[in-house]
Homo-oligomer: 340 residues x 2
């Protein structure tokens, strides 16, 4: 297989506040014929995820910042076009972390390549329900949240890739589940996933409005709060928390674009009397749960207990649109870009 | 033994913001001759503690609010003057939770009475180093903080009853210890307890000043933050926290008197990337550690490894002064009121 043309998105400038199209630039490169130990991959799907916003800043964080002029990092699934690594053959479906690009040539390890598991799922599912967002929901809820049957689980961003799975896993575990989302359409989707109650945060309004809406939706209080949003959502969860509530903090999408970080919850003192455990986590610390996740998720999906939704944009030229839409609630379920 | 006269402090009005003398009124009552199953106790020492501020509000919290017109609750140690309970004899030294009073007559259980352990300590030590504040420091640091040798432990309110013990227990456990306190005199005291570095929060100034001072004092970052203060101290601890840091939240004295709760830390998003565990606790959940606490503390004190300081006011008429001084940094070590 000769070289193939690949369009890729690079970080042109670092955003201040909300990212814009000006922060990205497209380049066209060649993914060359593979050298010894390399493979050449055609990406079929790529993912955009909220955590990428943090990597656009020039701040040392848990993952290194994207470099100016370099390709945006991130996950993709694709198929092997050519291989000079005996572990991969032409046609293999693989996931990778080689970023926002149509094709690449690399040593598999350097590009975070691994073969897709042999499960009856389409390849893009491994960027969502059966991939990083799925494990995030599974590990964060079960390991950090420790929900018990009959307890109330509240999850924000409940129509999103992670949140929609938290809703369903919590229902499987016998919990009373409250999800929050913005607008009637998304709230209906969350209900359709099995949530017992839904909070429309746009209708509830900020601050005390959200706390009141959550209190009404969770009459027995909140035992587990799975945070994808931060800000007023976290404040409301603390307000409504029961004693010994656990709060796995997965994301705070409401504040990622703030030029000046907003103040934290005014009700922090409740942490003491309620003995709250507020616990940040990254999925990368919980890969030990991957086998249990794959086993459980496969069984649940086979039994029809897990639904997943995707919001798909077509063509790599749409990748910035897809990414930017994450911050305006433009996705229901997993946001994906279909490349081929 | 006939009835004895007892002066007692009652809650006259609920404070708005900082409590004042106007919130308290003294009454003189008789502690009568004990009836069947009762004992009559002369208190020798009483304690004032920051948590009492919360109970002055008319808000359901982890402990019920004090009632208007009723005696202020709280711990004391005293001796039995008369007994019609065979488990107690005249002269026994007892601790109780019967509140801010010179004497009382009650059934032991109703007044939270128990005999002082047989340890070579003066009775007032059971209101501090060997009592509730001691167990608070021990359980919060060891069970929730899980400090490992060589790790950095930061404790705020390090000159206080709980903080001064956290400093010393953390040193015993082989940690690098940073304590914060207000003013040179208290900082010198914290140093004298063995702290490796001290932050004078009054000199550092609020906000970024405190974070910078902590960063300088804890060059390897913070692995455990034992919070007695909240507010800017918690923000600074989050700023300087290492990955997987644990933060037992014991108290937030900086905000107890706020009429409008101040905003929480602006750097809450760091909780995720740093995988911080912010965990509120009450000593009452950790009485299972009491035997280990008594054993360890006795050994450490016998070996000269634990120093404790007391700030003593004389006479029950001083009890409000002693309590109010807690909020202006008027105590080094345990604040006590000597009654007899």
């Amino acid at each position: 297989m000769p070289s193939v043309t690949s369009r890729e998105w690079r970080l042109k400038s670092r955003p201040v506040g909300e990212p814009t199209h000006q922060n990205f630039e497209m380049a066209t490169v060649e993914a060359p014929e593979p050298g010894e130990g390399q493979i050449q991959v055609q990406n079929l799907w790529m993912t955009v995820d909220p955590y990428m916003r943090g990597r656009m800043n020039d701040v040392r964080s848990y993952s290194p910042p994207f470099e100016l002029g370099e390709v945006m990092g991130g996950g993709a699934v694709g198929k092997v076009l050519a291989s000079r690594d005996p572990a991969y053959k032409v046609g293999d479906l693989v996931s990778s972390f080689a970023g926002w690009r149509e094709a690449f040539t690399a040593e598999p390890k350097a590009a975070g390549v691994s073969k897709l598991p042999n499960l009856p799922l389409p390849p893009e599912a491994f960027l969502g329900v059966a991939g990083m967002p799925g494990l995030t929901a599974y590990a964060g809820l079960l390991k950090l949240g420790e929900p018990k049957p009959g307890e109330t689980v509240f999850v924000s961003g409940a129509a999103g890739a992670v949140g929609s799975l938290v809703v369903q896993i919590a229902k499987i575990k016998g919990c009373y589940v409250v999800g929050s989302a913005g607008g009637k359409e998304k709230c209906d989707f969350v209900k359709s996933l099995g949530a017992d109650a839904v909070v429309d945060y746009k209708a509830a309004g900020p601050g005390a409005g959200l706390s009141a809406a959550l209190r009404a939706a969770a009459p027995k209080g909140v035992d587990v709060y799975f945070d994808n949003v931060g800000g007023d959502h976290l404040t409301a969860a603390i307000d409504c928390a029961n004693i010994n509530a656990r709060m796995p903090i997965c994301g705070m999408i409401s504040i990622y674009n703030a030029t000046k970080p907003p103040p934290g919850p005014h009700n922090m003192a409740m942490i003491i009397g309620k003995r709250l455990k507020i616990w940040g986590f990254l999925v990368s610390d919980h890969y030990d749960m991957q086998p249990a996740f794959v086993k459980d998720m496969s069984e649940w999906m086979a039994a029809g207990k897990i639904r997943y939704e995707e919001t798909v944009m077509n063509g790599i030229e749409k990748a910035p649109d897809a990414f930017l839409a994450l911050f305006s609630g433009g996705n229901t379920g997993k946001m994906l870009v279909k490349l081929a």
